[in-house]
């Protein structure tokens, strides 16, 4: 009997190409996703060295970060962004890399389309020049973000130089209460361990509350692993996973499917496998979460008051919190509930999939976005947009007074003109509340889609459970899959 292995160990060990003393491991990469912002310098590097893309068949590119989400045509409002998109198209042509471009009906946020197209599969190593590549770990893949030099390494060799990270098991016991979602699970974890809590580690999320999540909920959970400092987060694959992957365009078919399934079933951690760290969170006790500060670790249960920096004995930490509250113009000790907001952003690779839109639409149906509040709904991919429109969700949002957009990163990163004005407050379903992330001077409260909708309707930060009680909507008994 060999040593019991974790899910991470199994994937890592089977992808080691070379392990020499005094050098990092040469790790094989099964799938490399590429977008316009972090790839141009990597392709230039290949040209300078006279190298080709070694495995274009394992490389897929899309346009998402700086693309317009209105019907506007390129070169849009921004000639520089247009040039960057043209450069990606040129690079993909020159190097034979498949590209989902502006005309493609499959285009979308890179972390939405990978799973949607069946490219993301259990057991794979997946990288992208993008820190939210951790999303794909929801399938029991080892997926992590890399820098542009590393993008060049993978393009040139299909391999990366990596030191083996440590493992960190996060158990979510119990079951989520109505109105509490996957987003709240991950915000609660990060609030507890801090944004550097997972540095050097890979999270594995386990426990009954995780098992009960849909694939889309698991993607939300894994998406924000990087916000807890871990480059990757994973969930062991199970029937929910296989059901999601089956039949997708790039999923294995026929005999290959049976073979793949057998391999995937062997991936979950063995009994007795050791993790370097572990912790347990009682999912049943979680409330909807919201952030008050300028990093995703500055979060709290929505009913709590904003913390007081004066209570912190560490000088630098106190200075950082003071700086954050100054930026946010928030008073310590005061609740966030009832705080006036200007914008609601429903979108991003964290929460822009069909189930997110469905749950949000269900809550907003028959209600109105409060006067003076702007609400943007931005589907994660063109596929999600079409499916949502086929179900009439677009009309629900528009009738409520929200804007229905085309797919892209949009106001998550504010590169395409969708952005906050200085001083505005937004409740956003995205993943980063850094200073200026959603526009210079803009202020972000991160929360779940339900909290975002409830806040849009009331024009102020609102606990979504108050609306659930009013509507008595039974359906939200299962809101946990958001």
């Amino acid at each position: 009997m060999t040593n019991p292995k974790t899910l991470f160990d199994k994937i890592w060990d089977s992808h080691v190409v070379v392990d020499e003393d005094g050098a990092p491991t040469v790790l094989y990469i099964d799938l490399h996703l590429v977008h316009e912002v972090t790839s141009p310098q990597a392709f230039s590097g290949l040209r300078e060295r006279g190298l080709r893309v070694r495995r274009p068949d394992r490389t897929v590119a899309t346009m998402d970060h700086s693309t317009p989400t209105t019907g506007l045509e390129l070169p849009m409002f921004d000639a520089q962004a247009a040039r960057q998109l043209d450069q990606l198209a040129q690079n993909c042509r020159d190097f034979g890399v498949p590209l989902y471009d502006m005309d493609s009906p499959e285009r979308g946020i890179v972390h939405v389309i990978g799973p949607e197209l069946g490219l993301t599969q259990p057991g794979k190593t997946i990288v992208c020049g993008d820190s939210h590549t951790s999303t794909h770990g929801a399938f029991g893949a080892l997926a992590f973000g890399i820098g542009t030099s590393e993008v060049e390494h993978v393009l040139a060799t299909q391999c990366l130089l990596q030191y083996r990270p440590q493992t960190f098991l996060v158990n979510f016991d119990g079951q989520l209460a109505p109105g509490v979602a996957a987003k709240d699970m991950i915000l609660a974890l990060i609030a507890q361990i801090g944004i550097a809590g997972g540095n050097g580690h890979v999270f594995e999320y386990a426990g009954p509350a995780v098992r009960n999540l849909s694939m889309e909920g698991r993607m939300t959970l894994c998406n924000m692993s990087i916000e807890g400092g871990a480059r990757a987060g994973m969930v062991a694959p199970d029937e929910t996973t296989f059901e999601y992957v089956a039949g997708r365009p790039h999923a294995p078919q026929g005999q290959d499917w049976e073979k793949a399934l057998a391999a995937w079933r062997a991936l979950p951690s063995d009994d007795g496998a050791q993790y370097d760290r572990s912790m347990t969170i009682d999912a049943g006790k979680l409330e909807p979460m919201i952030t008050y500060g300028t990093n995703p670790g500055m979060g709290m249960p929505i009913s709590q008051p904003v913390p007081d920096p004066a209570g912190d004995s560490d000088v630098t930490r106190r200075a950082s919190l003071e700086k954050a509250l100054r930026y946010m113009e928030l008073q310590p000790g005061r609740p966030l509930l009832g705080h006036k907001i200007d914008v609601v952003f429903l979108g991003s690779c964290t929460n822009s999939r069909l189930s997110d839109l469905r749950e949000a639409a269900r809550l907003i149906r028959g209600r109105k976005v409060a006067a003076g509040v702007r609400m943007l709904v931005v589907p994660g991919s063109e596929n999600v947009r079409r499916q949502a429109e086929a179900e009439g969700l677009d009309r629900v949002f528009v009738e409520a007074g929200a804007e229905w957009r085309n797919a892209g990163c949009s106001m998550c990163i504010a590169m395409n003109g969708d952005q906050l004005a200085p001083g505005q407050y937004a409740v956003s379903t995205s993943n980063r509340n850094f200073e200026g992330r959603q526009g210079p001077g803009g202020r972000t409260f991160l929360a779940s889609p339900l909290t975002a909708v409830a806040s849009a309707v009331n024009g102020q930060v609102t606990d979504p459970r108050t609306l659930l009680t009013v509507s008595g909507d039974r359906h939200f008994q299962s809101a946990g899959h958001l």
Partner: protein, 198 residues
């Protein structure tokens, strides 16, 4: 890549924890296709009060710190986005090293691949260094990569960690892709065994 051996320089203090890469270089500066010119966007949201107008309170804009090649930041420097534009912007501005108590994983990897040295000090040494450079902005420190030591303004010497592979690459000024390219035969064998040939 420029080799990194020793560096003696004044230090710019930026004593905040968790400085994220969105602050190091905001997304609006990322619509480029080269590595050049990014230093204009370095700390743009903190450095300028409005378009191109410097904030006199921000350390990089102060006369006393001009020419300093070392940045001293708080814990967990470089968290957030994987953008390699962050080390490119720091290098473009003239920094060769960043000192902190810890670095986010992706930032550290990116910095090392570009000849920007991340120096993680123990909290006590970090605190002392901050006090010394705040007391005397002209004070210099010396970083010696070969011996992995840093000499604080008061003469105190302290060690810092770095993996031997990155260290060798930095000392010689060679990038890491060269090593990977030398493994091509092994990579092909691996693909053969796993039947990954196309």
């Amino acid at each position: 890549m420029k080799p990194f051996t020793t560096l003696t320089s004044a230090v710019v203090p930026l004593p905040y924890n968790d400085v994220d890469t969105d602050q190091i270089i905001p997304a609006s500066y990322l619509k480029v296709t080269t590595k050049q010119g990014l230093s204009q966007g370095l700390f743009a949201r903190w450095r300028y009060v409005s378009e191109g107008k410097p904030d006199p309170d921000f350390p990089l804009n102060q006369q006393k710190y001009q020419g300093a090649q070392i940045l001293l930041a708080g814990d967990n420097f470089g968290c957030g986005s994987s953008r390699e534009h962050a080390p490119w912007a720091l290098l473009g501005y003239g920094f060769r090293a960043v000192i902190s108590t810890s670095f986010a994983d992706i930032f550290r990897n990116n910095a090392l691949k570009n000849g920007l040295l991340p120096v993680a000090l123990a909290p006590q040494a970090h605190k002392q260094l901050l006090a010394q450079v705040q007391a005397n902005p002209a004070a210099t420190v010396t970083i010696d990569l070969r011996s992995q030591t840093i000499t604080l303004p008061d003469g105190q010497q302290t060690a810092f960690p770095i993996d031997s592979f990155s260290k060798t690459c930095l000392l010689q000024g060679v990038d890491q892709l060269g090593y990977l390219l030398k493994q091509m035969r092994r990579i092909e064998e691996y693909e053969e065994v796993r039947e990954l040939k196309n």
